[in-house]
Amino acid sequence: MEHGLATALRRGTLEFCVLALLENEPRYGVELVTQLAAQTALTTSEGTIYPLLSRLRRSGWVATTWQESPAGPPRRYYELTGQGKEALAHFRSEWVAFRTAVDRIVGTEHT
């Protein structure tokens, strides 16, 4: 059940964490995935983030470009598109309202 709860909470929020990480600068896959996976509440492992990145590419919220790497093969960099920025702004306002409502009802306002 714990596993199911964490999955349910991640669903619908993790993608916006990805958008937020890309807000100020493009990042390449390994960099992005390592940063997200460091937050253990958000992900189970680094590999589980790739299906999400694929979906974000298809939705047009992120765009990718290949760039030469100082070491090893070229890297695919992810950056936020205009649509992605709008989606993130929309999520921010929705999230605040959502969080406030849940906190109030569940009794976690001051925790």
Partner: protein, 132 residues
Amino acid sequence: MNQQQADRLDRLVEDYLGAVSWACGDLPPQRRDELIEDLREHVAAARAVLYEPTEAAVRTILDRLGEPSAIAEEARLAEGLPVRPAAADPAPAPAQPPEVTRSPSAILGMLLGFVLILVAILATATLLMAGR
């Protein structure tokens, strides 16, 4: 690192990717291939910055990517597929149009109704005739 060692590490990576691909058997082939390519790139980029490309270091990269089944589960979620499909789930039987069957009692009821209507018409006609 000699060629033999490098080959062994490559095989380690390919075995892992093969396991992910197998776990993603129910994904559309295009999605599955895309995912495997993303993971292959990840491993290549992570290997490129290793201080020492030992087997332990490569295993750590793969461990951090996680269990193939967990990645497959996330891929199904992203595709909107059921999270845990039963592996031995039989294909659903083709839908058949519902057969129109009438039980004997239904046929009897219809006959009785028909007879009653006939009787009513006859009775009305008789009454009208008698009324003249």
